[in-house]
């Protein structure tokens, strides 16, 4: 019998929401070797150049258990060194801070969400079993491209 977590993630990856992101060039599937899913997400650097970051999702117990998510160096198969993580406003630097669990620091993440009462404080960003993987990808893509907003504007003369 199929692992329900495998079935759930395959449903998410075939869903229109995930596919719409692929069509738009927001993210791409790198690999799924359960329990690890690897996704590349398009980014905008502070100088306006386009780039891509990779994310390692550990999906045991998915979707009942939140994914464990690392920003990843796919060449070395390790967590991306801090010096090479995305730069930008406090929302970005906080999300990719090197903290105790070394995971992405957002309320939907398995370890981050379990501390500081985040599930109650940030219900719109917290994980629950009705979420799908695209919910996380949309949040990460928004963070990784927030630098484009500072390029949309200039201080008043």
């Amino acid at each position: 019998m199929d692992n329900p977590a495998v079935t759930a993630i395959k449903v998410d990856l075939s869903a229109s929401r995930f596919q719409a992101g692929v069509v738009r060039g927001l993210w791409r599937l790198i690999s799924l070797e359960f329990p690890v899913l690897m996704i590349g997400i398009a980014a905008t650097e502070a100088d306006g150049t386009a780039s891509e970051y990779f994310f390692h999702f550990e999906l045991s117990g998915y979707p009942g258990i939140a994914p464990e998510v690392f920003i990843w160096d796919i060449e070395t198969s390790q967590v991306l060194p801090v010096a090479r993580r995305p730069k930008g406003c406090p929302r970005v630097t906080q999300a990719f801070i090197d903290w105790g669990s070394h995971t992405v620091y957002r309320p939907w993440e398995r370890h981050s969400g379990a501390h500081n009462d985040w599930a109650r404080k940030y219900p719109d960003l917290a994980w629950h079993s009705k979420r799908d993987i695209t919910f996380i990808l949309e949040d990460l893509h928004g963070l990784l491209n927030s630098n484009s907003l500072s390029r949309s504007t200039r201080p008043a003369a």
């Binding site: 229109s16 929401r17 596919q19 719409a20 992101g21 069509v23 738009r24 927001l26 930008g88 406003c89 406090p90 929302r91 970005v92 906080q94 801070i97 090197d98 903290w99 105790g100 070394h102 620091y105 957002r106 309320p107 981050s112 501390h115 500081n116 985040w118 404080k121 940030y122 719109d124 960003l125 949309e138 893509h141 928004g142 927030s146 630098n147 484009s148 907003l149 500072s150 390029r151 949309s152 504007t153 200039r154 201080p155 008043a156």
Partner: protein, 169 residues
């Protein structure tokens, strides 16, 4: 062979995949979506994402075209968007196929509220009077029902969850 087309639009809570026979025109897409929504198909327009003008419904939807973009169906040709920030309101008309991201770009720009570039990356849009950040890839037409071609939004500071210490400190 069938063609898959991803659609956002009036009355939808999220994007949907529509499968149409190869060689179908935009008119066939509109007919199917209008039937699902229970509206007259001759009222419905078909757009490409972020485009100002609707498509010619007699044109065939090609596989490579469908694979590269998201489409949008709506009965409005333009949506009057009002964005509230502090005590000001800025308004602009957009196509219903415009993504929230495009409206946000406009709202923070010098054409909108000319937000300080240091703060601009933290800004989000929410429905007026609400605090939930709208998905940036959603089309604004999703939140507008004919015949009310108006959308009222708030420009808000996004949530910055924090509290962790660096692992080295």
């Amino acid at each position: 062979m069938d063609t898959k087309i991803i659609i956002d639009g009036e009355g939808l809570s999220d994007v949907e995949v529509l499968v149409i026979p190869e060689g179908s025109t935009g008119r066939e897409v509109v007919r199917i979506m209008a039937t699902k929504a229970g509206v007259e198909s001759d009222e419905v327009l078909l757009f490409v994402e972020d485009s100002d003008e609707p498509l010619d419904l007699d044109l065939i939807i090609k596989e490579d075209q469908a694979a590269q973009t998201i489409h949008h169906v709506h009965r409005a040709r333009r949506v009057n968007v009002s964005v509230h920030y502090q005590n000001e309101i800025k308004t602009e008309a957009f196509s219903p196929s415009t993504r929230i991201q495009v409206v946000l770009d406009w709202a923070v720009s010098s054409k909108g509220f000319n937000i300080d570039p240091v703060i601009a990356p933290e800004m989000e849009l929410a429905l007026h009077g609400e605090s939930k950040e709208l998905p940036k890839q959603a089309h604004i037409g999703r939140y507008v029902r004919h015949p009310h071609h108006q959308l009222s939004l708030d420009l808000i500071r996004g949530v910055v969850p924090n509290g962790a210490k660096n692992s080295d400190g």
